[in-house]
Point group: none
Chain length 194, copies 4
DNA sequence: AATGAATGAGACTTCATTCAT
DNA sequence: TATGAATGAAGTCTCATTCAT
């Protein structure tokens, strides 16, 4: 359908991000070379460097784009009273954000050792801490802190560990959310026997 | 009468494993080069190849050594009736196994993308599935499956995500175990509202 | 009535030369990339190629512009009798030319290995030889040839090696000129003991 | 004369230095690639990295080896009274050192812009300053300082600028030394009219 | 039980240059 | 008068691995 090498107007940057994320998720960050990304795009390595300064920069840009929803949740959460309703709503929104940016979060989960050293590592760490701070009581007992952490990880795992398991992804997400809500509810009001 | 039948003339093999694990945990598997390991041991790279066939082989050997306790738990669990008591006991034993091999599990958690491609990846995956199978009912609802997965992840996270948080590690472990037991208990008998 | 006949619509060409020379002096020719030059001018690399055919062409154009005074000295010198007065006058004029084009000559001195391979390398080499020919006697002894060479190099060094030393540049130039004159004078009339 | 790839016992390091210096002098530091060096040695690039940590390290090592004689001159000079005799002796010794390490010094002269940024740049700069300090009087007039600088440069140029000129190198060296001595003598005792 | 020397593959990155617009 | 997008070549460097000794 035409032998011209197609102009590829102005979408290369986006295409790089897409292919890169796909490969990063599939093979891990370190094992994915820029050569591979370039080849899959039918472009030279140098073209990648026209759009991004470094390999890490490609990842950062993906992260920044996809992570904005989570920041908005944090922003919103900070302005709300710390009621159980608020907490639940945070979990609901977070679960939705995870769905939208599922591959990125799978990547984050599976490449922690790598991400830790990268610039987005710090950002990510603070983000998790901030989230936990929103759903746990300030003076929560250690066990309740664990419950809150666990709630978040459960939702992450909802996409990841269950990834290759059978079942509809949407159902799995709902189930993970349910368990998370349960954990946070218990942490919110530990009940008679703490 | 020792359980380690290796001749062990000289302890270099062990020292390599120790240093390697330390660096793998600290920097990740890919980012840790054999040169670094050798340098830290004041030995040449070639020496590593006298003791191990490949880089991956070093990791495998560590894994095999440290993972035996988990296999024993699986062995034991398979022979027990699937009562709540048994499940709790499995969690307790697993928690202890985690403590003993903490760095290895931190490594596994943080380097999933890498480990997945390695030979131990499959082993590991099957092991987790087998463990979950022991603590969930065969016909468990999706939510209950999530609870069981979550219980395991909570214990893993007890060492990892809380790693840099304040507090005595032993207390954190206990708290994580408590939450895990709670989750499995709930999954075991979902109660009136399923 | 200007001596520069170029149309000069817009001064970009000149600005490129200025910035390029500045960077070439500061970092060397090879270590200065067109990207840097373009960035400092807030222009794209491609814009440079509208004004100059190659990187080397930028350097050549600078050289041609700034080197004209030296050519004029040569022209003038060839038409004069080879008296001591003439030689002194050549040195004086050369010293002034150096002052006017100081950065270029610093660059030439510090990037000889590079310049040698470039088109201006040959030009430059012939120019030095021609200059020496004007200030030395045709049948000068080796020692006297060295004196003449040395006179030139002393003036070059007057700007360069003493660049970071203390003192007013104008005074240094005067001192270098004085020593140069001295050397050429001695070479002109070696005296009783040759 | 066998077809075996010849064991190359323990002289590779030296051979790398030799070939590298040769190419650095011929083409300049930047324009000489490690590939070229390796190819000329019938070795892979990686082999270079077994013997040297970086490209710069190759140069540094050459510099350190060949520059020791100059350091010894400095050491010796510092312990002598600052008489004209001493100064002359320094020049004589320096001239000999230059002969021994001629290619290195040609390289230094022709690649100043490059060398300046390298670690040996500082060393070199201090060395020149220290040398000048030994052959000039502490309170020398500017003109006399220039004479001393000039003396050193003259000897350098004795190898370089005259490199492609006709004549026996040894004679040129002698001539340069003579002029240098002359300059330093004049600087030592400026005479009636300063 | 270990070293010294080397390799082949491949990583990330930068550069001068081109061309359609 | 310039830009946006891309290329091809090359650069420095690191890595896991091998093998004779």
């Amino acid at each position: 359908m035409g032998s011209t090498p197609q102009p590829r107007r102005g979408n290369t940057r986006q295409r790089i991000q897409d292919v890169a994320l796909e490969l990063f998720v599939e093979q891990g960050y370190e094992k994915t070379s820029l050569r591979e990304i370039a080849e899959q795009l039918r472009v030279t390595k140098a073209a990648l460097y026209y759009h991004f300064k470094t390999k890490e920069d490609i990842l950062s840009s993906i992260f920044e784009d996809l992570n904005r929803p989570v920041e908005e949740i944090l922003e919103w959460g900070k302005g709300q009273p710390r009621t159980l309703e608020t907490k639940k709503e945070i979990l609901v929104r977070y679960s939705e954000a995870l769905r939208a940016a599922a591959p990125l979060f799978v990547f984050m989960q599976e490449n922690q050792a790598t991400v830790r050293e990268l610039s987005i590592g710090h950002t990510m760490k603070h983000r998790v801490i901030a989230l936990v701070d929103l759903i746990k009581e300030p003076d929560a007992a250690l066990t309740d802190q664990v419950r809150c952490f666990s709630a978040l990880f459960t939702m992450h795992a909802g996409m990841m560990a269950l990834r290759d398991a059978e079942g509809d992804p949407e159902e799995k997400r709902a189930a993970a959310l349910e368990v998370a809500v349960e954990l946070v509810t218990k942490a919110h009001d530990p009940g008679p026997a703490a």
